[in-house]
């Protein structure tokens, strides 16, 4: 075999390996979408159909009826988490990047360590604390809890982004007589737009996809996010697979939309984040 032939074979083997990897990676997503159009009879037939078998919209009818309110709930939680993350993280990240304070090392260390804390540890305590201050089964309670995923990460990513902003800009604003707040609001925020969008998208998806805090902090039936709604389709003896699939397909829409729409921002934001070094 000549050298050229060998390298050509090798390249095709690489493509083959990639195809196999992608099939394995994408199959569960494919299965959700196909499964969401299958009838209950097909899903419980005891045979797995690799291709759509007898397409129906029944599952979507069921889910739209049962989960519309839950989708709204999840949107509120997602947007709330994004807003909280921005309000808390943006000014903090700016201060940690642009003002030289003695506490910076302490705060940044605390944020790094906070990322390590398992959610179940927080959920157990927060449930009892929230019970005491009447935040159990409320939006603010859930949003504060969901913020624990996004806020430490957001501060660290935004801080890395603010490092990349030249100090001349803020310095010039100060010389022109702008207050610290004006400088932050009029100069820094507009320049940080892409990083802010990245952080907001990330926080939204955390709030949207959260399950553990929804399971623990919402102990009633009044506020039910989609993740919790899907979980209720899981029965002791029989699971409503059609509804699980259709609701699952719904649940991945925001992430898909955001990946497509905001990809440019996410890419630039995360590149900024990687400058951390």
């Amino acid at each position: 075999m000549t050298r050229l032939q060998r390298s050509r074979t090798l390249r095709w083997l690489c493509t083959l390996a990639t195809v196999v990897a992608l099939v394995i990676v994408l199959f569960p997503v494919y299965a959700v979408i196909v499964g969401s159009f299958e009838s209950t009879e097909t899903l419980f037939s005891g045979t797995y159909y690799w291709l759509p078998h007898a397409a129906t919209l029944d599952n979507y009818r069921t889910v739209i009826q049962a989960q519309s309110g839950n989708v709204l709930t999840s949107l509120i939680v997602g947007v709330g988490t994004a807003v909280l993350a921005l309000v808390v993280a943006v000014p903090a990240a700016y201060a940690l990047a642009k003002y030289r304070l003695r506490v910076t090392v302490v705060i940044v260390s605390a944020l790094l360590v906070a990322q390590i804390v398992p959610s179940i540890v927080l959920a157990t305590s927060l449930f009892v604390i929230f019970h005491w201050i009447h935040l159990v089964n409320t939006y603010p309670g859930l949003i504060i809890a969901d913020g624990t995923y996004a806020i430490p990460f957001s501060i660290l990513v935004l801080r890395a982004f603010f490092f990349s902003l030249p100090n001349d800009l803020t310095q010039a604003a100060r010389v022109d007589g702008a207050s610290e707040w004006q400088t932050f609001q009029r100069i820094v925020i507009p320049l940080a737009r892409s990083a802010l969008i990245t952080v907001a998208v990330f926080a939204f998806l955390n709030g949207w996809g959260d399950f553990i805090f929804a399971l623990t902090i919402l102990n009633g039936a009044t506020i039910v996010p989609v993740t919790l709604g899907i979980y209720t389709y899981l029965g002791n003896y029989s699971t409503q697979w059609g509804a699980v699939m259709a609701a699952g397909a719904f649940a991945m829409v925001p992430a898909a939309v955001m990946l497509v729409v905001a990809q440019r921002y996410i890419a630039s934001g995360l590149t900024a984040g990687s400058v951390v070094g």
Binding site: A21, R102, V128, L215, V276
Partner: protein, 333 residues
């Protein structure tokens, strides 16, 4: 890159230190002047984050420690404190067979996940550094698992691993690897392996992306030099490439460890900790103790075991992130 940004403000501080009423309250702190107003502004900017971290992290962690020494019952949940219980909750954790196996499962699960995720993730990362048709597509589609909320991923795997009508069994039978469908989820000897497979699937993209970007940063000259010196592919990988990207490998494994000891949603959806508690991890059993048996004290004690386990990584993580601990951009200049 960031070293440049600190310089202008520094020269302003040093050069015009005594100019104008605006800088009258200037204090010299480590070679950088910060006006009192700026100092106040910085603290105000930080305040929401400080309050949040205290309320949502520090308070629950401290409260969790308190809870673990309390004699809780369904009746005490309405109160913020319960009678002191000494070490009773910890003694329970040590004596309770399910708690003990949950701790052991967590170790097995974490170790197995990291080994699987690293081997597959690194292989794919190496694959994507080669030039062949489809590599860009492969790289961009590999993050698709992140689209699904974890609870959905868990349920889909539950569907795919079903005894009857599950895609995995269907495939194995169609290909002829097995004759009888495998009971992936309800066989006590197999269920943890099934959860492990699902978690490896979930973690591979993270490993692939991080290791791929590290491999991209290996200078071409280094690889070429090794090639000219007659190093084979395996030697080049082991002696040249791995040592260069070792810091990234370490960070990736560390983060992978931290993510894996926390896994909860996936297990709850896939097996719920069953059959016969064989897939019960610290997280799921702690949830069960606190929220299903209402023994918050025992749950909190188990939580602390998990917290200690996760926190083993903290010093290492801080050390690896020491670059970002600098007090501000260009500080060392």
């Amino acid at each position: 890159m960031s070293a440049v940004t600190g310089v202008p403000s520094q020269s302003v501080g040093a050069g015009h230190g005594r100019g104008g009423a605006h800088v009258s309250g200037v204090r010299k702190a480590r070679g950088f002047t910060l006006g009192r107003r700026q100092h106040l502004a910085a603290w105000l900017f930080l305040m929401p984050a400080i309050l949040y971290v205290l309320f949502a992290f520090a308070l629950p962690i401290i409260y969790n420690i308190m809870l673990s020494f309390e004699q809780t019952s369904p009746a005490t949940i309405a109160d913020i404190t319960a009678p002191f219980a000494g070490l009773a909750n910890y003694r329970f954790i040590l004596d309770d067979p399910t708690s003990r196996t949950a701790i052991i499962h967590t170790f097995e699960f974490t170790f197995g996940s990291l080994v699987g995720q690293f081997i597959i993730g690194f292989s794919l990362a190496l694959l994507f550094t080669l030039r062949f048709p489809g590599r860009t597509l492969g790289r961009s589609l590999i993050i698709v698992p992140w689209l699904l909320p974890l609870i959905v991923t868990g349920l889909i795997f539950r569907f795919l691993f079903q005894l009857e009508g599950g895609a995995v069994n269907q495939l194995l039978i169609d290909v002829g690897l097995v004759h009888q469908p495998i009971d992936w989820l309800d066989n006590p000897h197999l269920a943890l392996v099934t959860v492990l497979i699902a978690n490896i699937w979930l973690g591979v993209p993270f490993f692939t992306l991080l290791l791929y970007s590290a491999l991209q940063d290996v200078p071409v000259q280094v690889k070429e030099a090794a090639l000219i010196d007659g190093a084979g592919a395996w030697q080049r990988l082991r002696l040249v490439i791995v040592p260069i990207i070792l810091p990234v490998i370490e960070v990736t494994l560390l983060l992978g460890f931290v993510f894996t000891v926390k896994v909860f949603d996936l297990v709850i959806a896939l097996t719920g900790g069953g059959p016969a508690n064989t897939t019960q991890l610290i997280t799921t059993w702690s949830y069960n103790l606190s929220f299903q048996q209402f023994s918050f004290g025992e749950g909190a004690a188990l939580n602390n075991v998990l917290l200690v386990l996760a926190m083993i990584c903290a010093p290492l993580y801080l050390y690896m992130s020491r670059g970002s601990l600098r007090s501000s951009s260009g500080a060392e200049k």
